[in-house]
């Protein structure tokens, strides 16, 4: 037994030594930290999302890097556990990461204070807290994609368009996962209900969210909603699709927030035939026909391989590309400002983030415009609808009620 233990400690010690040695061997490389979850509670997202990060970096590096500097995307899987997320953040900091792709709402909140203290920018697309769009209050936190507040506003706008441009007296149901993320959009929806004059009723789905027969029956048979806005996670979006189908409610009258919008959700519900008409909200493009996908395929072909299998799940894969692309652009801006061979810091990259404008990746990215005040970049979304078993584009990039969201961000800032 002692031998086992000795061997274990020896390998541990060796690992520690080697890892410190590895850190010293960096030349002009720029390190970007990637937090990921391929094994934890949200692994269904992570297994597609994170390969998207790396494939984009591979394309950039194959073209000579950013302003001639190679990028090293260092991934650490934190199993969606906060202590491991903190550890991974410290590890990235030690490796000299100039920016970090965060992953997970609790992790974003746990690290928000640290990011500002250490002056390392972090991004939380589609999760984290909506109030962090305020760049003055959270200088080092960048939601970069539409927050739940913006998603709620966009959902109401979409509902309005679908119901003939007027919501007066209409009945809208909000079906949500009963956790903080699920409840976050409520104040926006309540405000918009007053503004647009529609009736809002909320239906909470308790964890783990795989049982919502009662709620869906309530929405369709008793409340008889004119439109449903769904904000669910994990397995529950597919369950909701099935339940709506079962009660005969038209899925074209359902719009889902960004985490109930992937191919996987539709497949789990029974495929396109079941989900026909289901509306999904997206903060990155859907499909694998954007120019960047061809570049990735080319790269794999050069190595004698087929395209990565993760590419088939385009919603999450593309979000992975989007997430990394924002960082690459920030680093590019920082290098442009400081000189291509300069040593850049997290503070430089933060300023780089705040100059991001007009990067589209051929339509995969929204018309993002991040400023020192607005770290959300506008809060753009797109709606894709299931048609003939495929996610088809329903709307162009749009955003809605920015003044309402601005009001809430300001109010939240005053609260604390």
């Amino acid at each position: 037994m002692t031998r086992h233990l000795a061997r274990l400690t020896a390998s541990a010690a060796a690992a520690v030594l080697l890892s410190t040695g590895g850190a010293l061997a960096q030349g002009g490389e720029i390190v970007i930290g990637v937090q990921c979850d391929r094994t934890g509670a949200t692994q269904t997202v992570g297994v597609f999302f994170c390969p998207g990060n790396h494939d984009y970096v591979a394309v950039i590096n194959s073209k000579g890097g950013v302003e001639g500097r190679k990028i090293r995307a260092m991934e650490i899987d934190h199993e969606y556990k906060v202590p491991q997320g903190v550890e991974s953040y410290e590890r990235h900091k030690k490796e000299g990461a100039v920016s970090i792709l965060l992953y997970g709402t609790p992790h974003t909140q746990a690290l928000a204070a640290k990011l500002a203290e250490d002056k390392i920018p972090g991004t939380s697309p589609g999760f984290g807290s909506a109030a962090s769009a305020d760049g003055k209050r959270y200088p080092y936190l960048f939601p970069v994609a539409a927050t739940y507040w913006s998603q709620a506003a966009a959902a109401v706008k979409f509902t309005k368009d679908k119901l003939g441009g007027n919501l007066k007296g209409k009945k809208v149901a909000y079906l949500f996962y009963d956790n903080p993320a699920g409840k976050e959009p409520l104040p926006i929806l309540e405000d918009l209900a007053k503004l647009e004059g529609f009736e809002l009723r909320t239906f909470a789905v308790p964890a783990p969210g795989v049982e919502m027969g009662a709620q869906v029956l309530d929405i369709t048979q008793r409340y008889r909603a004119d439109f449903v806005i769904a904000h669910l996670f994990g397995r529950s979006p597919s369950v909701s699709i099935k339940e709506f189908k079962r009660t005969g409610y038209p899925l074209s009258k359902v719009v889902s927030f960004v985490w109930g919008s992937a191919e996987a959700d539709i497949e789990a519900a029974g495929g396109g035939a079941v989900a026909e008409g289901y509306n999904t909200m997206q903060f990155a493009g859907v499909g694998s026909d954007y120019p960047i996908h061809n570049e990735i395929r080319e790269l794999y072909k050069k190595e004698g391989k087929g395209p990565p299998k993760e590419m088939a799940s385009t919603v999450y894969y593309n979000r992975g590309i989007f997430h990394m692309a924002v960082h690459i652009e920030a680093v590019r801006n920082a290098l442009k400002a400081k000189g291509a061979n300069a040593k850049i810091t997290g503070a430089d990259v933060k300023e780089g983030f705040e100059k991001i404008k007009g990067v589209t990746l051929g339509g995969l990215m929204p018309p993002l415009e991040i400023t020192p005040e607005d770290h959300e970049g506008g809060g753009w979304v797109q709606i894709f609808t299931v048609k003939g078993g495929k996610l088809t584009k329903n709307s162009d990039w749009f955003r809605a009620y920015p003044e309402v969201i601005k009001k809430h961000i300001e109010a939240d800032g005053k609260k604390s």
Binding site: T2, T39, K81, K93, P106, A113, E117, K183, P187
Partner: protein, 362 residues
């Protein structure tokens, strides 16, 4: 701890129950304490500030886990009452302290005990079923407590501070100086971890601790020899939840935020894993378990990062490391428990006993 103990004979009960079994143990403890106090300085001078921050951050996570594991071990290991709702008590402590710190601007030396006491109060309520039921039934009752606490925090804006259910808390300040870096926070956490260790050591060798053990081993017999089961079971719940509450407060100050998603059922299970792997009913076991569960995933990843590249490409490795981590973690837990069901504490004692007579075994 590391010493041979021949030639010492204890002739009084007081000596037998002493905190230090041998005079030399005092010196060992003193040396260890010096080492731990000097740790940030040592690592900084050896590895540089950047690396030191990282390694100390791991120690910090371990220190927090130690407090929680000790608390759970008092209840599960010493008193034999199963709780799988311990993360719930942690969140009670966390939100109590956060609310007091934000709304009333109280310093940590007031919010920390307040968080612990509130958790203890809730713990007593949750402990009431333990007077009637045992084992798996009690486990389910505490599971219910976990879910109820989660739900209440989630649905009471007065507690959770709004729909986000997270409250930002300023860093702890000592004499007006805010502790920010990992190395500064280390001393903050070390202080409470040491306090928890000393507290538990003293508790388990006292009358209360012995009553706990008696209840665990045979509660009817314990009652017959005059132990007030009602009082001691609830005391065990109270003390254990107090530790859990303090753990929650430490988390809150360490992260700068109280967030209920840090204290879900998975956290409860993690802590149970710690004390089972470490060894039920032992202080050293709790510490070893906390170290093991926190460190193992990190060590596996570091090893894979450095040796995995010999076999796989980086892209493959990104996929493999997380899966391997889970696999190896699970495997090692099984292996350890098969080799030594009484946990790492027993393993350590076996090693010590082997070397005690080394090289003259038999």
């Amino acid at each position: 701890m590391f010493h041979r103990e021949s030639g010492y004979f204890k002739t009084t009960y007081a000596a037998d129950g002493g905190l230090y079994p041998l005079p030399i143990a005092k010196w060992t403890v003193l040396c260890l304490l010096t080492l731990f106090v000097a740790l940030p300085v040592l690592t900084t001078s050896l590895l540089g500030a950047g690396s030191a921050e990282y390694y100390v951050s791991i120690v910090n996570l371990i220190l927090i886990a130690v407090v929680g594991a000790l608390g759970l071990n008092i209840l599960v290991g010493y008193t034999g009452q199963i709780s799988i709702g311990h993360a719930g008590f942690m969140s009670v402590g966390a939100y109590t302290a956060a609310n007091l710190a934000v709304k009333f601007d109280l310093p940590f030396w007031l919010t920390l005990p307040a968080g612990g006491l509130m958790a203890a109060a809730i713990g007593i309520i949750v402990g009431i079923p333990s007077l009637r039921i045992k084992g798996l039934y009690l486990a389910i009752a505490t599971l219910a407590a976990q879910l109820i606490i989660e739900w209440i925090i989630n649905h009471t804006p007065a507690i959770s501070g709004g729909s986000q259910a997270s409250i930002e808390v300023a860093r702890p300040t000592v004499f007006g100086y805010p502790l920010k870096t990992q190395r500064e926070l280390y001393y903050f956490l070390l202080f409470f971890a040491v306090l928890a260790i000393v507290g538990t050591l003293n508790l388990v060798r006292s009358r209360i601790g012995r009553a706990f053990v008696a209840i665990r081993d045979q509660d009817i017999a314990a009652e017959i020899i005059g132990i007030n089961i009602f009082r001691y079971k609830l005391t065990a719940f109270a003390i254990s939840s107090f530790y859990a509450g303090v753990t929650g407060v430490l988390y809150t100050y360490y992260l700068g935020i109280a967030n209920y998603e840090n204290f879900l059922i998975t956290t409860s299970i993690d802590y149970l894993a710690m004390i089972i792997i470490g060894g039920l009913g032992s202080v050293l076991g709790s510490i070893l378990g906390a170290v093991f569960v926190t460190l193992l995933p990190i060590v596996i990843r570091l090893t894979m990062e450095n040796f995995g590249t010999l076999l796989f490409t980086t892209a493959e490795l990104n996929n493999i490391i997380p899966a391997m981590r889970l696999g190896i973690f699970g495997l090692l837990i099984i292996v350890f428990l098969v080799l030594e069901p009484e946990g790492l504490n027993r393993l350590w004692r076996n090693i010590r006993n082997y070397f005690r007579v080394w090289p003259f075994s038999y």
